[in-house]
Symmetry: C2
Subunit: 409 residues, 2 copies
Amino acid sequence: MITINGPRLLDDLRALAAFGRYETGVDRVAFSPADLAARRWLTERFAAAGLKAHLDGFGTVYGTMPEVGKTLLIGSHSDTVPKGGWLDGSLGVIYALEIARAFREAGLSQRGIGIDVVSFQDEEGTYLACLGSRAFCGDLDAAAIAAARGKDGRPLTEAMAAGKLAGEPVRRDPARHLAFLEAHIEQGPRLEAAGRSIGVVEAIVGIRRLWLQSAGQADHAGTTPMPMRRDAGEPLLRFAAWVLHRFAAVAGPQTVWNIGSLALEPGAANVVPARGSLSFEFRDPDAARLDALEAEVLAAIADIRQGCRARLDAAVTTRIAPVAMDARIVGALAAAARELGHDPLMLASGAGHDAMILARHMPSGMLFVPSIGGRSHDVSEDTREEDIVAGCAVLARTAARLAQELADG
Amino acid sequence: MITINGPRLLDDLRALAAFGRYETGVDRVAFSPADLAARRWLTERFAAAGLKAHLDGFGTVYGTMPEVGKTLLIGSHSDTVPKGGWLDGSLGVIYALEIARAFREAGLSQRGIGIDVVSFQDEEGTYLACLGSRAFCGDLDAAAIAAARGKDGRPLTEAMAAGKLAGEPVRRDPARHLAFLEAHIEQGPRLEAAGRSIGVVEAIVGIRRLWLQSAGQADHAGTTPMPMRRDAGEPLLRFAAWVLHRFAAVAGPQTVWNIGSLALEPGAANVVPARGSLSFEFRDPDAARLDALEAEVLAAIADIRQGCRARLDAAVTTRIAPVAMDARIVGALAAAARELGHDPLMLASGAGHDAMILARHMPSGMLFVPSIGGRSHDVSEDTREEDIVAGCAVLARTAARLAQELADG
């Protein structure tokens, strides 16, 4: 039906990893010289595969099959976090390129439905998370682009200008793009722990993130009686205790949560804290559960506020809705995996991906391959070669099946 | 019997506050130019009061009554914390000077027991806490002096050399010094809250300080299932929860405690903490209770360690023993306060003082006056003028009574 070329796939992945190589990983943040060089190289590779290749004003690389009017769009992103890993989104970009080549080699594009290939810009949010896929889907306005800045304060518009990117922005084409497929490393330990090579994503979780700040009074911790203190640590530690002891009881089986930061000031052993802050986030694929959990968290905060002499402020800073993957594509991915001898793990993605943006506009699906030790966003990130090749074969088979079904009407 | 001169006392206090003035307070850390200028001025003031005045190699200012062979030693320290208050130890130094003057004016030194006056160096620990009183008591060896450094890394020996302090170190004289009296601001809110002008210190609390460090693994907080995490925040937050919910139940009525610092790294909302630290201290005037509480804390830490996947290390970094004040002096202070129309508050000092060092070598006692709003170690530190004068009058009456009792045998 369709046969991918494993060595060609691995060669291209390794060639891409040479751009911005850092120790055993890659440092290729969006709009860096290494990122732009990699994107120019991808443009050449797409063209060499017979695609009409285009580098757009954001840096998104887009390759279209000229001989067809309808396509499955496949891809991911080739930018990385600082000192990141060599696979991450690059895996999904090179999968797409290899599948486009194999699709043509199998003569499948002659049925009128082909493959378009894409590497979106700045999925990692160096300037603006999912910049490329948002722009592609028309989800970004000029004000958001004008306001976006890097951690170092550099405006996105300046980074774009410095990159000398002049191409017209590429935009999704509802008449052409029938579906979106994205492959990615899992970035977690579940596939490895379960001994599986293929993960099929059923949903991308939603995120709620809260920022708690407390204000009390700095007092001498030896001379100030306990009842007279306004300890800014108290409300934050009471909230943390509630999370440890109670949140688990209300959370669902797929809920994950994290107290990622907690700081007290001035931070001296003998001074009662005057100020403090804490970040708390939780994720779940079920929107109703996220709402219920947020209500529980806010009720707990209100209780704690009543019982403490220090002031406690809390704000929900992030509300990202969960996104379900297209049921037909989920089924096609699982079926293709089984036909190739795998026992796919059905799971929710705990991290955001470009597919989260695309899924609001077209049927979308995601495939995961295992991350060794669950590692990602680090130079230690890796995946076994046979899993890399197996993942591409499953995604290629899925694309071929979907294209055939859609062509058959 | 003995009458102090209130305006003269206040004038000297205000004159001393001009050295290193900072906003409404004083910045006069040990060995700073302002500190050394203040100490030279004190030497002159002691001499002007008819005392034999001496500035020693550490910067301690010592004034002795030449006409007597036995004395009560009275004083405190004139160095401050950075951006500190105008009273703190300066109050006790100027009290001592005023009491020596009033003692002579009342003809009391003719009975053979007089007053020696002292301003110890570096009580605040800019280089070495209670440097002057420790050196005075012979509690410091050369190695400790050689090793002492400021927060900026500057060696104490360099600061001493730069100060051009050449005088022989003054040492306590067991044949001469019958007792030590120190007055200080309370540095807490208890006198003000109770509406009292005089506090009599029964004991200086002991301190136990612990430093907890945790080590886990930084993981993606969205993609790593809860049971697979080694969250370095967990053991610290479990300990904090134990302190909030259980420590109060085992603490005594005079115990105070503080979680002064808590930090998680890398400190991002979406990253499981890889490392963390927490400082915990508790204070109590009862040595046996401190031991019992330490045992409870260490048992709790052992329990938490068993239940967490992240590593938890804990060390007791500070063990300072509580010190009881001399019962006879405590009684004399309380009696003098009542005779002058006050209702003294008997209390433990939650902070350390030079009297903690002296009390191991001679009968010692301390008097507190109220701190407005409980404030200290800050430019907002202040005490009402009538309380300043009242405290000196009570300490003077106590000194006169003790000197008479000791002279009478």
